[in-house]
């Protein structure tokens, strides 16, 4: 469904991606892992047509209106309340405003519906940004570090939500620094390092391949083993 084939991306002199190739199957949660600065966000930006690649081909199997997106720059309107933020997008998509309440409920923000975005905690803000991404029930969902900085309970809630979306037919592409999250949540992962995907597959299989499956699958060890760097 989502694919990249030999994608190259340069920023001036710096080559960030030097031939990235991978494929994400329909109704799968794909996790892209890599150290800070590896180019994970850049890959999302290319797939969502916010950036042009310098070489290679890519596609998502969905048009922009069937795509949901959550980035760290959330673009929420700080002075407007949660509901108004979502209602704007419901109006833009031409879907009933009742979907806004539904999305708020899905991310556990029903009680904060009338709260201004500027008054939300970081975690609440992140959940609102996720609510906007799933508002129109997209076929393909891109989530850039959806749980970074969240407490474990909230993160778990978001995991449940993402799993539910997949079970309802969505294809999810997410980035993460969190190995635990990758193992629990993702059907498939790719490790991005020095501009290339250096390893990919089912998380447990990858750990097995690299003999890092003592008591629990230790993806962290695999990663350090392969790259010499630690994910924070």
């Amino acid at each position: 469904m989502i694919h990249m084939n030999g994608i190259v991306k340069r920023f001036g002199e710096q080559t960030v991606l030097s031939g990235v190739t991978f494929e994400v199957k329909e109704r799968e949660i794909f996790g892209l892992l890599g150290p800070s600065g590896a180019g994970k966000t850049t890959i999302i930006n290319i797939l969502t047509k916010q950036l042009n690649a310098d070489g290679g081909s890519h596609g998502t199997g969905a048009d922009m209106l069937e795509t949901g997106l959550m980035l760290d720059a959330d673009g929420l309107y700080g002075r407007l309340n949660c509901l108004d933020n979502l209602n704007l997008f419901a109006d833009v998509y031409g879907i009933p405003r009742s979907k806004s309440l539904e999305a708020l409920k899905n991310v556990g923000l029903t009680d904060a519906a009338k709260k201004a975005v500027n008054e939300l905690s970081n975690g609440m803000r992140q959940r609102l940004s996720l609510a906007r991404a799933i508002l129109h029930e997209p076929k393909v969902l891109f989530l850039d570090e959806p749980t970074s900085g969240l407490d474990p309970a909230t993160a778990k809630g978001i995991h449940t939500l993402i799993l539910g979306l997949r079970d309802n037919g969505a294809t999810v592409f997410l980035t993460t620094h969190n190995m635990d999250e990758a193992i629990k949540l993702c059907d498939h992962i790719g490790l991005l390092h020095k501009g290339k995907i250096i390893e990919e597959g089912v998380p447990a299989d990858i750990c097995e391949r690299h003999n890092s499956f003592k008591t629990v699958p230790d993806l962290e060890a695999v990663f350090i083993n392969l790259t010499g760097v630690e994910l924070e």
């Binding site: 916010q50 922009m64 795509t67 673009g75 929420l76 309107y77 407007l80 704007l88 109006d91 129109h136």
Partner: protein, 230 residues
């Protein structure tokens, strides 16, 4: 149209929560009203405070508001999310500028109600005010498009607003400036609101030319800086 309306509604809701912008639309008429009621010095020209505040509002207040709103939407990445949701740049601009044009017109009517004008005077006043606010908003929107972020937006719009706003005042003391200022829409607003017996057509024509120039600048800014995803 659905999308333009959605943007329009968003800008309306946002304005009432944005003190920086709301202040322009409330403070100027309120100050005009208070000064008109409170200052009772003999021999003051009729409606002096209304016309003064109205001219400053149309000439200066609106430029920085329009600039700020557009620059903020671009800097905060909210416009990016709208575009990913299928909003075309022109729809965003129509919705946003459309709302502020209406707000400028409503404020003009407020000023007209505060002032003690005859029927013809009211019509002349509204004609220059509504076209003048439109000129300001287009100029401000063009600056907003050209600015990378809100900081550059302010540092660009402030001097521009000062120049177009204060030139008419300097013009009253200096003939050379007065001649040069004749091409400015703010000067024409002042000409009419200070002397309703003056002919209306020349000022309106000058303001229309200003609007035309600002549209050209706006389109050039749009083409150069663009609002695009990649």
């Amino acid at each position: 149209m659905r999308i333009i309306k959605a943007i329009f509604i968003k800008q309306a809701k946002d304005m009432f929560k944005n003190p920086m912008v709301l202040v322009m639309f409330i403070i100027f008429p309120v100050v005009a009203l208070m000064m008109t009621k409170l200052v009772t010095v003999e021999d003051l020209p009729p409606n002096m405070f209304v016309t003064m505040m109205a001219a400053i509002f149309a000439g200066m207040g609106l430029i920085s508001s329009a600039t700020g709103v557009i620059a903020e939407d671009i800097e905060q990445k909210s416009l990016r999310f709208l575009m990913i949701a299928g909003v075309k740049p022109y729809q965003y601009l129509f919705g946003t500028i459309g709302f502020y044009l209406l707000a400028g017109a409503v404020a003009s009517v407020l000023f007209a109600l505060i002032g003690d004008f005859t029927g013809t005077e009211t019509l002349k006043f509204l004609a220059v005010m509504i076209s003048g606010t439109a000129a300001s908003i287009l100029l401000g929107a063009a600056i907003g498009l050209l600015s990378k972020n809100q900081k550059t937006a302010t540092s660009l719009s402030m001097p521009v607003a000062m120049i177009v706003g204060f030139t008419p005042m300097i013009a009253t003391f200096n003939e050379t400036v007065e001649k040069a200022a004749g091409v400015l829409y703010t000067q024409q607003i002042n000409v009419i609101v200070n002397d309703f017996s003056a002919g209306l057509w020349k000022p309106l024509l000058v303001i229309a030319c200003n609007i035309a120039v600002f549209i050209v600048i706006f389109v050039a800014a749009y083409k150069k800086k663009g609002i695009k995803l990649s």
